[in-house]
Amino acid sequence: MSTWRAGLRNTLLVARRQVGAVREDRYVIFLLGLVIALGVVAVLGARHHAASEAEQRARYQAMVERQWLEQPDRHPHRVIHYGFLVFREEAPLAFFDPGVGAWAGTSLFLEGHRQNTANFGDARHATGMLRFGRLTPATVLALLLPLFVVVAGFASVSAERERGTLRLLLAQGATPAQILAGKVLGTGAVAALAALPIGVAAVAIAGSGAVGPVSPGRIAGLAGIYAAYLVGWVLLTVLASAFRASSRSALAQLIAVWVVLCVAVPRLGASVAGALHPLPSRAEFTAQVERALNEVGDSHNPQDPFFRSLRDEYLARYDVGSVEELPLNWGGVVSREGEAVTSRIHEEQQQDLVEGQRRQDRVLSWAGLFSPYLAARDLSMAVSGTGPEAVEAFRAQAEAHRYDLIQRLNDLHINEIRYENDRAQRLPRDSWAEFPTFGTRPPPLGGALAGRTLSLAALGLWLLLPLLGLGLARTRLARVGVDRAAE
């Protein structure tokens, strides 16, 4: 019991020494202030940006809904072409991590006969400067804080050795494990000090409900991800400091590691993904859809074999000689069946495309094994509800809404409009009130995380490997640099 207590006391002593050393370093204190300032600016800036976007989208969505309801008496097929416009709502936590939001379309026009793609991504509208990224709370935590950790901790052990105090500590009975643990604790405490204001500000905004309801699970998830990610950096920094020959080489190596992991590997991963799973060009994709549609038939052409056999089937079912005698509106039936077929084909093609994009994203997940930055960002997007799957969920929900809307209108056409003198008839305006409204439902947290076992594993590995390194090499602590000092 007493040795356990002595161990703890030694560890805390070393940790306190480390915090003290950092406090005396004006450069690190300056950087701490800078990181905190950047983080707070990022939180407030991102919050403002997200709020104004959300407000606009909500306002115009309400306007589109009002316009829908204010339609005059109309023929249902006219309404099919009038269509409906939906806007992608960003997840409440988009202010923290906007994910791919800026790079995906925000508005989608829903109409009959075709599936449009979401247009008006933020990036399309900005300039090439946006390629440098935006300062968001997630960027500060994932990209800048690791560098701060490196600067705060690269000398943690090596400076003790260079000053000769490491031997003193060992002679006083502190074990290598206790010294390393103390350094990890001390550096971790400094890192936490830098990360905390950002976290507190973000939680305060999320908790105030100003951005929409945020579940505590998501906040806890984000806290866990970034804590694990930063602890990994602390461990790696102390490892380098303890086992490189000098502070200088530890710093050089850690910065090189940061450049590789946070700057180079993500882009390498993205380009490898593009090379391994090339996507068709937009023109090719459109042509593919057209070809697939042409194979089925043309609903505007009465001689088309598909629609001829459909007509024969209906004539036989109702035992009549011509479409005029059918108890329902044949024009509406053609429209409904045509919609069913074209929607299915569009959806199949779209699924192929989405599958191609997913394959690329999976390559990036694998790249996450080599870059904890990628893994942390991937998980962060998933938990914030701003990843590629959120964009796809919006598309799928909008398509489901579109299909339902169009087929309801076709049913009105079939049942409420007579076949003869079809075009001259109108449905009363109150018919438009009976349609469901649209709202984006973000993918559930569990589902978003379930597809990301690879990134979770990568983050685990990121914690485990430096820990293992520290554990295995701790006995060598006293000998590092000894040969060199003897020279």
């Binding site: 450069y27 800036g45 403002h48 940006h49 104004s52 989208r57 115009y60 306007m63 589109v64 316009q67 009038y82 416009l85 791919v100 800026a102 790079w103 925000t106 508005s107 793609t117 247009n119 008006f120 991504g121 990036a123 399309r124 509208h125 300039t127 090439g128 400067m129 440098f132 990224g133 935006r134 300062l135 960027t139 990209l143 800048l144 600067v151 200088r248 050089a252 090189a256 180079a264 993500p266 882009r267 390498l268 993205a270 380009s271 993904a273 090379a275 996507l279 060009s281 937009r282 023109a283 090719e284 042509a287 052409n301 001689q303 495309l353 994009q357 994203d361 990036l364 590629p388 964009v391």
Partner: protein
């Protein structure tokens, strides 16, 4: 010491440093990989453009054949797709794809070419909302992460190599005690640092330029020597900026470790933090006008127009008296009515879009002032512009397509309004899109300001370093 012996000695010294050797080798590999990436992307775009152009020819041939058959007495397949109708011949079936050929240096700088559309289908229904289509069907995640092209290596990684090569040009000599010895010879500290940095610059910049030239050889991009010069100028100026920054930091006579920390800090601020902060500040200080508002305004415009068709037709004929002859006064044709509505929508869309674009241009002009804060932003602008993958070339393409769509409408609309049919002879006179690519001079004019500012920054830091290094004596 002749120049050759200095260079040979420097080379030996650099190669004796193992981490530096590894860094140089790695940098060379990354350069080659980035180039391969750029070439693959260029080929993809070239194939897409070729396919689009082939599609134009195929469609025209198929329509010509069909028109010839009908003339010979065959029945059209359906009355909705009868190619004699001007709204079919000039509509989706007869559409013309206007393409922007990849920028001559796309292999070096992918730039905005993976985001912005480089081809548009033009037909009589093309209007402002047609320009809202997206570029390629890229995964948004890939777009966000960005491409690993030469421009990325130059902007992000080249400065780091430069710093690794030169953070201790002077401080190391002092730390090893060789400075006094060196300066006892008839050379100045300024001369020594200049010679060392010149050698390192030759090495680093030479690698980048050599790989760039290989890229141009592979993709045949020598057609635009002006652009190549601008690209090289931007690379050289940007790299030299980092070299002279290192020289200046060395002239402060602090330790090598201090130099390294400060220089890496400068890189972090100028390349990562400042651009990202500017991007977030831009949204707060100069928000772009609401796109959502524009879409809803466009939608309102089209609905209003459809509801007032006949009234609009009257006004259209008033504005275009030359078309009134073809329209039978008492019973305007269906095509004419529909066209009147389409035209009204187009006009309204143009108004709404022009207003939106003007406000957007204002905001972007304000945001672009901030690029003078970071050499990385300046260099990126010139690298993209020179490669023909910057915002300006795409905007120019779009306005050319806009003008082309206007010509296209002018060709078909009179026949639509008059209710006339067209024949094979009309098909041969259909407008074709010819890209008038921007001249090198125009690109150079745009790049002049950022390049000049980059040059001025470089000169300023170099002068500061020169003055301070002039005071360094061996004895200190």
């Amino acid at each position: 010491m002749t120049a050759r012996t200095v260079l040979r000695n420097e080379w030996r010294l650099l190669m004796a440093d193992r981490p530096l050797r590894i860094a140089l080798g790695l940098f060379a590999l990354l350069l080659v990989y980035a180039l391969v990436n750029g070439v693959v992307w260029t080929r993809f775009q070239e194939r897409t453009v070729e396919a689009a152009q082939a599609g134009n020819v195929e469609r025209a041939q198929a329509l010509a054949q069909e028109l010839a058959d009908i003339e010979a007495g065959a029945e059209p397949a359906s009355r909705f797709s009868d190619p004699r109708l001007p709204n079919v011949l000039g509509g989706a079936r007869g559409r013309h794809t206007a393409v922007l050929t990849p920028g001559p240096l796309t292999a070096l700088t992918v730039g905005q070419s993976d985001l912005l559309p480089y081809y548009y289908d033009v037909n009589i229904y093309t209007n402002e909302s047609s320009f809202q289509q997206n570029g390629e069907v890229e995964s948004p995640l890939n777009l966000m992460v960005g491409r690993f092209d030469l421009a990325f290596v130059v902007i992000y990684l080249l400065p780091l190599l430069v710093l690794a090569l030169s953070f201790n040009v002077l401080s190391e000599e002092r730390e090893q005690g060789t400075l006094a010895l060196t300066l006892s010879q008839p050379v100045s500290a300024r001369g020594v640092v200049a010679a060392k940095l010149a050698f390192r610059a030759l090495l680093a910049v030479g690698m980048v330029l050599a790989v760039s030239l290989v890229g141009l050889l592979v993709t045949g991009g020598f057609g635009a020597p002006g652009r190549i010069l601008l690209w090289c100028a931007a690379v050289v100026a940007y790299a030299l900026f980092w070299f002279v920054l290192a020289a200046w930091v060395n002239s402060l006579r602090r330790s090598s470790a201090w130099n390294a920390t400060v220089l890496v800090g400068a890189w972090l601020v100028l390349v990562v933090v400042l651009p990202a902060s500017i991007n977030i500040a831009a949204g707060l200080l100069h928000p772009l006008p609401s796109r959502v508002q524009m879409i809803t305004a466009q939608r309102e415009a089209s609905n209003e127009a459809v509801n007032r068709r006949s009234e609009l037709l009257a006004r259209y004929l008033e504005d275009h008296p030359e078309m009134a002859e073809g329209v039978v006064a008492e019973e305007p044709g269906l095509g004419a009515l529909a066209w009147a509505a389409t035209d009204a929508v187009n006009r309204r869309l143009e108004e709404v879009t022009a207003e939106h674009d003007a406000r957007r241009a204002e905001q972007i002009a304000l945001v672009r002032r901030y690029r003078f804060l970071s050499p990385a932003l300046l260099a990126q602008e010139v690298l993209l512009d020179a490669a023909g993958t910057g915002d300006a070339r795409f905007a120019g393409f779009q306005s050319q397509v806009r003008a082309f769509a206007e010509r296209w409408r002018d060709f078909f609309v009179p026949a639509i309004v008059a209710g006339e049919q067209m024949d094979a002879s009309a098909l041969s006179r259909v407008p074709q899109f010819r890209l008038a690519d921007e001249a090198s001079g125009e690109v150079a004019r745009r790049a002049a300001v950022p390049l000049a500012v980059l040059g001025a920054l470089l000169g300023l830091v170099a002068a500061g370093a020169g003055v301070r290094l002039g005071r360094v004596r061996g004895a200190t």
